[in-house]
């Protein structure tokens, strides 16, 4: 296996730290109904040129984590704690003006729905130019040239003409390309893509993912891709973090997650992917139950109320204790589950894999 592994990566920058490192990130929101614990202790690392996929259902804390990296919850009611190290700098404790200099410049974000993520009243080109000028002391003509260049690079035909179009005049795929171009305006080292292809149809989806991989090679950027689509992860990422109820439940190299998953939730995710090479009578398996309320998280394993394999655990630990995220093997594969590792492998091989 050639991919670097989340927890053991040491290539790092001059400071000896990985390029991006999250340590025990917590994001909580106080509301009328109680404290919403959106993210509870998220840790991972990522090097330049690599891609990390964060997978989970809506409300599992994926997007909230990405906003925390950008510092976009500063000044709101959100309570963010833990550490986020980017290229030797710690972001959680950073002041707003400092982190503002990083936004767009060092870290850029590609948002889910480009129609609502781009300002409806300004021309696409001007929005790109703005992203450049805020970090570069350059004449507008330079910014415009770069914008047109990048629009061209992301595959928008006659970019100097489309420069003057408004977002609503673009198709969905074109808007997503423009959004990517906007994120690339300042050559960011880290790209966070929050469901970048969810709003697009499948062919366009594939084009956008190819584009992102090409650009990654070209700019040597690190990419965090947030998605609920395991297909996207399989195509893009080297490492995967599976989140559930604001916690990491399984993480590791993409092969481990797809071929040797050990957490029942991950099994459920894999089981719910439709496959073409299956007979027509094959039914997709869904995970029973609903995602947990982030206000009243279960006392034990967050997945326990929906887990079908509790009988393999002695006693009541599934209900009583949160399992720890433990490393298995040497490849950086980590799992949060009370079932014994060997038992999990057996269950996967006997009960899950044949049905996938």
């Amino acid at each position: 296996m050639t991919e670097s592994v989340t927890t053991t990566a040491t290539a790092g920058t001059g400071t000896g730290r990985p390029f991006l490192e999250l340590k025990d990130l917590q994001v909580h929101f106080p509301t009328d109904d109680g404290l919403v614990k959106a993210v509870n202790g998220l840790s991972f690392t990522l090097e330049r040129g690599k891609t990390l996929g964060i997978v989970g259902e809506s409300g599992s804390g994926k997007s909230v984590s990405s906003l925390a990296i950008m510092g976009l919850q500063k000044g709101t009611q959100a309570q963010v704690s833990g550490e986020i190290w980017l290229d030797g700098a710690e972001l959680v404790s950073m002041s707003v003006p400092e982190i503002r200099r990083l936004r767009g410049q060092q870290v850029a974000m590609i948002f889910q729905d480009p129609l609502s993520a781009m300002h409806p009243f300004y021309k696409i080109g001007d929005q790109l130019v703005e992203a450049y000028l805020v970090h570069n002391n350059a004449p507008k003509s330079v910014a415009k040239k770069r914008a047109i260049e990048l629009l061209d690079r992301v595959g928008i035909p006659s970019p100097s003409k489309r420069f003057d179009d408004y977002p609503h005049q673009f198709s969905g795929g074109m808007r997503q390309r423009a959004m990517i171009a906007m994120a690339l305006m300042c050559d960011p080292q880290l790209l966070i893509a929050d469901e970048p292809t969810t709003a697009l149809d499948v062919t366009v989806q594939a084009q956008i993912l190819d584009l992102m991989m090409d650009l990654q090679k070209e700019f040597n950027s690190a990419i965090v891709i947030i998605t609920h689509d395991l297909g996207v992860v399989a195509q893009m990422a080297q490492d995967v973090v599976v989140m559930y109820g604001g916690r990491v439940v399984e993480s590791g190299p993409v092969r481990d997650i797809f071929y040797r998953p050990e957490m029942p939730y991950t099994w459920g995710l894999l089981g719910s992917i439709p496959r073409v090479n299956r007979g027509g009578d094959h039914r997709l398996k869904s995970i029973r139950g609903t995602p947990p309320s982030l206000i009243n998280l279960p006392n034990g394993c967050p997945f326990q109320p929906r887990c079908d394999y509790q009988q393999y655990v002695e006693g009541h630990s599934c209900v009583a204790e949160v399992p720890e995220l433990l490393q298995i093997g040497t490849g950086g594969h980590r799992v949060r589950c009370h079932i014994e590792s060997e038992q999990r492998s057996r269950l996967f091989a006997e009960q899950i894999k044949p049905n996938l």
């Binding site: 809506s58 395991l230 399989a234 609903t290 309320s293 929906r306």
Partner: protein
């Protein structure tokens, strides 16, 4: 087995679990309906409770006006010239200004809020009876506007096509009328025709009816537009489609499926309309085109009192304050209702 890109995923279809949102354990935490949440929020909201109490008191005053006036013993239309001791109440040489009391108001233990200049009618009694006019006209107008607006908006949105085009044009026309001017011009015209049209002579009972009708008639169009828009989107929703595909008729769909979803909108609009109609009735009576003498109405009292603003400012102060407090109470309650019904409020 391959691990290719999955081929057929709807935008949110990746996780089937998202669709199973109905289990019991989820209900415990998130299963409260909007109505229950709104009610819980309202009960916690001190301003809402306080303004609701004030409104209940005002309604009580309106209902029990005759009883309340019995306590002080001065019917609202009675001209009082002398007090219990036989001393004159009004200074006849000075244009009929009340004698004594704070700022020439004639306030005394008999006449709690003083007496009217010239006529000597008891201000408190007139204020109490004025509550009736205000609330009746406002409620009547609101009911007419809400019923017309809801029915026309639903019909327009549900049936679409020619019906919708015609009704929408009608809304446009009504909305481009100079509203206040028209109400002002129309009220006396209709009231004048009372004998011919309804067999009722031009009296204040008729005028109250006319005011309700005119206010309601010009007030429905805006609501109808909102309702139409909501119905247009509601009728495309799955639960309506499902009902229709099962053979439900338009009446069933409109009243059982769509109407319940409009209730928050209607509630909010009602709380907006009532205070604005209270103000409108006062304004029209003030201008001399609404309620006329001898019936007591706050707007008429303010108009009357404006002539005495230098010599007896309190005569203006009392009806002004009554009007202000009433409108404020309704607005405060309306605001709280709106906030309570707002699904986004208090989250995030």
């Amino acid at each position: 087995m391959t691990l290719g890109v999955s081929e057929a995923q709807s935008p949110e279809g990746g996780l089937p679990a998202d669709h199973l949102a109905d289990t019991a354990e989820a209900k415990q935490i998130e299963g409260r309906s909007l109505g229950q949440i709104a009610w819980a929020r309202l009960k916690k909201d001190k301003i809402a409770v306080a303004s609701a109490i004030v409104i209940l008191i005002i309604i009580g005053v309106a209902i029990f006006a005759p009883l309340i006036v019995k306590i002080n013993g001065f019917p609202p239309d009675q001209f009082n010239k002398v007090d219990a001791n036989g001393d004159p109440l009004l200074n006849t040489r000075d244009g009929g200004i009340p004698i004594g009391g704070l700022w020439g108001s004639g306030m005394s233990s008999e006449h709690w809020l003083g007496v009217e200049p010239q006529n000597g009618r008891d201000v408190f009694s007139r204020l109490v009876y004025g509550t009736r006019v205000s609330l009746l006209v406002a409620l009547g107008g609101t009911i007419i506007a809400i019923v017309l607006g809801t029915v026309i908006g639903m019909v327009s949105g549900y049936f679409r096509g020619t019906v919708d085009t015609l009704l929408s044009r009608l809304m446009d026309i009504i909305l481009s009328f100079p509203y206040l001017l028209f109400v002002m011009a129309l009220t006396p015209v209709i009231a004048d025709r009372g004998q011919d049209l309804f067999g009722i002579p031009d009296n204040n009972t008729l005028r109250m009816g006319v005011l309700m009708f005119v206010l309601g008639f010009f007030g429905w169009a805006y609501l109808a537009r909102i309702v139409r828009g909501q119905v247009l989107s509601l009728r495309e929703r799955e639960f309506v489609e499902a009902a229709r595909s099962l053979g439900a008729g338009p009446a069933y769909v409109i009243f059982r499926q769509i109407l319940p979803n409009l209730i928050p909108t209607l509630l909010v609009y009602t709380t907006l309309l009532i205070p604005s109609y209270i103000t409108a009735e006062a304004a029209l009576s003030f201008l001399g085109v609404g309620i006329k003498e001898p019936t007591a109405s706050w707007g008429r009292m303010i108009d009357d009192a404006s002539d005495w603003i230098e010599s007896n400012p309190l005569y203006l102060f009392f009806p002004g304050t009554a009007l202000f407090i009433t409108v404020l109470a309704f607005n405060l309650l309306g605001d709280s209702v709106r906030d309570a019904l707002d699904p986004r409020a208090g989250r995030s």
